[in-house]
């Protein structure tokens, strides 16, 4: 098997942003209430099974025939109603707090577009286009820099889910959705497409890289540059521009401006390829171009039937796209 990108456990009970924490607090409350209900009703059930089991001495006799009791019915109607009211109020408060949060002027804006089976990220204010690995700045409590995402889809339904940072929101064609997150520590956060979107729904992985303010600044600077023009890899660039690669992929500063696949201008700045299916190494890159089916069966990238020499040249060219 290929080198898989490094992974770690992503629990909904390990929140790292304001909204994820609000959800976590609500979840503890709801879990506690339902656990109490379970213990009470479950114990009553268990007690009645043991206490009222048929005994040999009962043979032939029927127990007292009881048809009901209005008082008891009333009690076990009113109490659940009260519990529901309390749960609802707690829920509505968090819904409002997350969904109706005003967008601060400092917010970073990103347009996320779901594709079969990868993510496109556009930063309209910064002029950056990237794929699959979303870079956002950390949002320390004193200096709050939340990221607001506008969610769109180019084809089928998808869903954006980073359990530690926020609940999921769908990306639906012909519809504009929004969500926000304000991660409070730096690091790589894993997630993936949560709404079934087609054959390779499983390998539509998602990485959110939360950078410190300085790192994010540095990242945006490099991402805004055009691809370097390196004459040593002209052969590979020619392969890229004369086969169908450039119909789908864009490389800034060159004639390649395809929109169907990920923007490759800074391909080598990403740790993974094929939407997180494999680590971004020379071998994986070569295999991915040679035969995408081997890495991600059902992916929409076709095998271009390149010769070994063309493949090597192409990979050398791609490796200059930093």
């Amino acid at each position: 098997m290929l080198d898989a990108p490094s992974t770690h456990i992503t629990s909904v009970f390990a929140p790292a942003s304001t909204s994820a924490r609000a959800i976590y607090d609500l979840s503890l409350f709801v879990l506690a209430v339902t656990a109490v209900i379970f213990v009470i009703v479950g114990s009553l059930l268990l007690y009645s099974i043991v206490r009222f089991r048929h005994r040999a001495a009962d043979a032939g006799r029927e127990p007292a025939q009881v048809y009901g009791s209005t008082q008891i019915e009333l009690a076990w109607t009113v109490i659940p109603v009260l519990i529901v009211v309390v749960l609802f109020l707690a829920t509505a408060r968090v819904i409002h707090g997350i969904q109706d949060a005003p967008k601060p002027p400092t917010a970073v804006e990103v347009i996320a577009i779901g594709h079969q089976f990868w993510w496109e990220f556009r930063y309209p204010k910064l002029g950056i286009v990237t794929a699959n690995e979303l870079h956002i700045p950390v949002s320390d409590p004193p200096r709050s820099v939340p990221t607001y995402l506008t969610l769109l889809s180019a084809d089928t339904d998808h869903s954006f889910w980073i359990p530690e940072l926020a609940g999921k929101t769908d990306l639906i064609p012909n519809r504009v959705n929004e969500m926000w997150m304000d991660p409070q520590r730096t690091g790589v956060f894993l997630g993936q497409c949560a709404q079934y979107c087609g054959t390779q729904h499983a390998k539509m992985l998602l990485r959110v890289v939360v950078d410190s303010a300085e790192d994010f600044e540095a990242w945006t600077r490099t991402q805004r540059l055009s691809a370097p023009q390196d004459h040593e890899v002209m052969a590979g660039r020619r392969v890229f521009e004369t086969t169908a690669c450039m119909n789908c992929h864009a490389v800034g500063g060159t004639a390649a401006n395809g929109l169907f696949g990920p923007d490759l201008t800074h391909l080598m700045s990403r740790h993974t390829i094929a939407s997180g299916a494999a680590e971004n190494t020379r071998e994986n890159l070569r295999l991915w171009i040679e035969n995408p089916e081997a890495l991600k069966p059902g992916s929409l990238m076709p095998a271009m039937k390149l010769t070994d020499a063309e493949l090597d040249a192409l990979v050398r060219y791609l490796e200059t796209l930093r």
Binding site: V12, E62, G68, H96, T156, S159, G167, D170, I172, C197
Partner: protein
């Protein structure tokens, strides 16, 4: 009951050629035979859907497993969902309703026997159509594949751009046709229950099962119609250039979601209300007490039916509805918990002070109570919308609804099988095999579906054919798969029991459980046309009145 029912003499010739028997079964309009056909048909699909489930579980047993390709995996979960809902749960519940309702209300058949047979054969055809896609789904014979768009067929995945070929059409037409069959049977059940009750059986004296089937049928009429409409619209999109759901031409993907779930949520109650019906008949008999709070049980059921029509968008909390819509569906969803809770309390009240006999039907009913309690509570948990933004579309949801459907509905069905099998065949199911089946299934169920909640909490989405190692999902998925296998073995024990007991089971007699409703007053199996003379009842428990003339129920109701 004033007149003891005498059986109509069996006029059937016993030594007839098998072709004749087959012909009689195929052309039958007898509610009992149609009921049995429904049940057998559903059992066949239960095995098929089970094989699909096991395929899914083997694939997910370990990370990067390549037991099946992603394409096959996607077809498996699509077919598993569609099969289990439309071709197992619906027909098997209609089958029990068909068999039991006329017997329990003292009628000789359903109101419309020919419609009844027609509805069954429509359902049978639809199952065949769906599975024919394996052969002809790409339009050429032998060049087919099953649909792979998920059993919700969300737009635009079901559009021609994303589902070329005909397999999506086989799915659409199969669901449409099975919907017509369900509507036919629902109309029939409603007419039967409202018009065919025996003298003395007022609405307030019907066995709870009849009330629940009446409610369920009403809900089926309301729920299945929008689904059928949506299927027609999808066909218009696919073949006549319509743009209802075609997002590339300005259609709406969320419109399909609303259509689908305004069917899909009532559907949950269409399935679970008959399960409640079985439990409401079985728990009293094995606790030796009448059902506690009969009028409240009826009211709670009708209340569930009404509220269940206003909760559909809780399947869609992640689609970006505004905060008011989300709050509305949160409160309606939580509100369903109240009447459902009342039902659980009343079953508990029925057992309280009783003399509980732990026969196999009762074991399954008790397990039902525990599991349905948990399923209801995880439902409440997901009604807390923000938490659902985490849980929705994850394995937590998959675990939750399997808890409802397997832990609730299937357990109730097993209880019903053990309870009414003696009536249907005249022979008892083996208690020994029954207990083996019960314990295996309980262990398998809990290994599988308790554990399945956890990967969801750790970020595992549903419908993925494989996953990366190191996310904490590996061991959990292995345990789930082991649980699935144990349940599979338990079902084989059950099927074996069904087959062997048909010949080797102990003679049941008319009333093996010392029960109280009218079906136990006739022979086992009941004769053609059920009752020689139509019974007359004076209370909810006519056989109790007959067995205890000194202290009849009619004195207290």
């Amino acid at each position: 009951m004033s007149s003891p029912a005498t059986a109509i003499r069996q006029t059937e010739v016993l030594d007839q050629p098998w072709v004749e028997t087959l012909h009689q079964w195929v052309t039958t309009v007898d509610h009992k035979r149609v009921g049995i056909l429904y049940i057998l048909y559903a059992l066949v699909f239960l095995v098929i859907g089970g094989i699909e489930a096991v395929t899914i579980r083997i694939q997910l047993m370990s990370p990067h497993n390549d037991f099946v390709s992603p394409q096959v995996f996607n077809r498996m979960f699509t077919m598993h969902g569609t099969t289990m809902i439309f071709f197992v749960a619906m027909p098997i519940l209609f089958g029990f309703g068909n068999y039991l309702v006329p017997l329990m209300i003292g009628a000789r058949d359903m109101a419309f026997p020919r419609l009844n047979a027609f509805s069954f054969w429509l359902s049978a055809l639809s199952g065949f159509l769906l599975y024919f896609s394996f052969l002809g789904g790409s339009g050429l014979y032998g060049a087919g594949s099953a649909p792979d768009m998920g059993w919700w067929a969300y737009a635009p995945l079901a559009a021609r751009a994303f589902s070329p070929g005909s397999s999506a059409d086989y799915w659409t037409i199969a669901v449409l046709v099975s919907g017509f069959g369900s509507i036919g049977t629902a109309v029939n059940l409603i007419a039967t229950i409202l018009c065919m009750r025996c003298p003395g059986m007022t609405l307030g004296r019907m066995p709870l099962l009849s009330w629940l089937y009446l409610t369920m049928s009403g809900l089926a009429l309301i729920g299945i119609t929008p689904l059928s409409a949506a299927q027609l619209m999808l066909l218009v999109d696919r073949y006549l250039g319509g743009h209802f759901f075609d997002t590339q031409a300005g259609g709406s993907a969320t419109l399909w979601m609303h259509f689908f779930w305004i069917f899909g949520h009532p559907e949950v109650y269409i399935l679970v209300i008959p399960a409640f019906a079985f439990i409401s008949e079985i728990i009293p008999v094995f606790s030796r007490k009448p059902i506690f709070g009969y009028p409240v049980m009826v009211a709670a059921t009708v209340c569930i039916a009404f509220v269940s029509m206003s909760v559909w968008a809780h399947h869609m909390f992640t689609i970006g509805m505004n905060s008011y819509a989300n709050s509305f569906f949160a409160i309606t969803t939580m509100a369903v918990g109240v009447p459902t809770g009342i039902k659980i309390f009343n079953w508990l009240g029925t057992m309280w002070g009783g003399r509980i006999q732990f026969k196999t039907p009762m074991l399954f009913s008790i397990a039902f109570l525990f599991q349905f309690l948990i399923a209801g509570l995880t439902g409440i948990i997901q009604a807390a919308v923000p938490f659902d933004w985490q849980l929705s579309l994850s394995y937590f949801v998959v675990a939750h609804f399997h808890y409802v459907i397997v832990g609730g509905i299937l357990f109730a069905l097993f209880a019903a099988f053990y309870y009414w099998y003696p009536k249907v065949t005249g022979r008892m199911l083996s208690e020994r095999l029954g207990k083996l089946h019960f314990w295996l299934f309980v262990i398998g169920f809990h290994l599988c579906f308790d554990v399945m909640h956890i990967p969801g909490l750790l970020g595992m989405p549903r419908r993925i054919y494989t996953y990366e190692p190191g996310r904490g999902w590996d061991t959990l998925n292995l345990i789930v798969t082991i649980g699935a296998f144990i349940q599979g073995i338990a079902v084989l024990v059950f099927l074996w029991n069904l087959i062997v007991s048909c010949w080797k089971g102990a003679e049941a007699g008319n009333d093996p459980w010392d029960a109280w409703t009218l079906e136990w007053s006739v022979s086992s199996p009941p004769p053609a046309y059920n009752f020689a003379s139509i019974p007359r009842v004076a209370s909810r428990r006519p056989l109790w009145d007959r067995k205890h003339p000194e202290d009849p129920d009619s004195r207290y109701e």
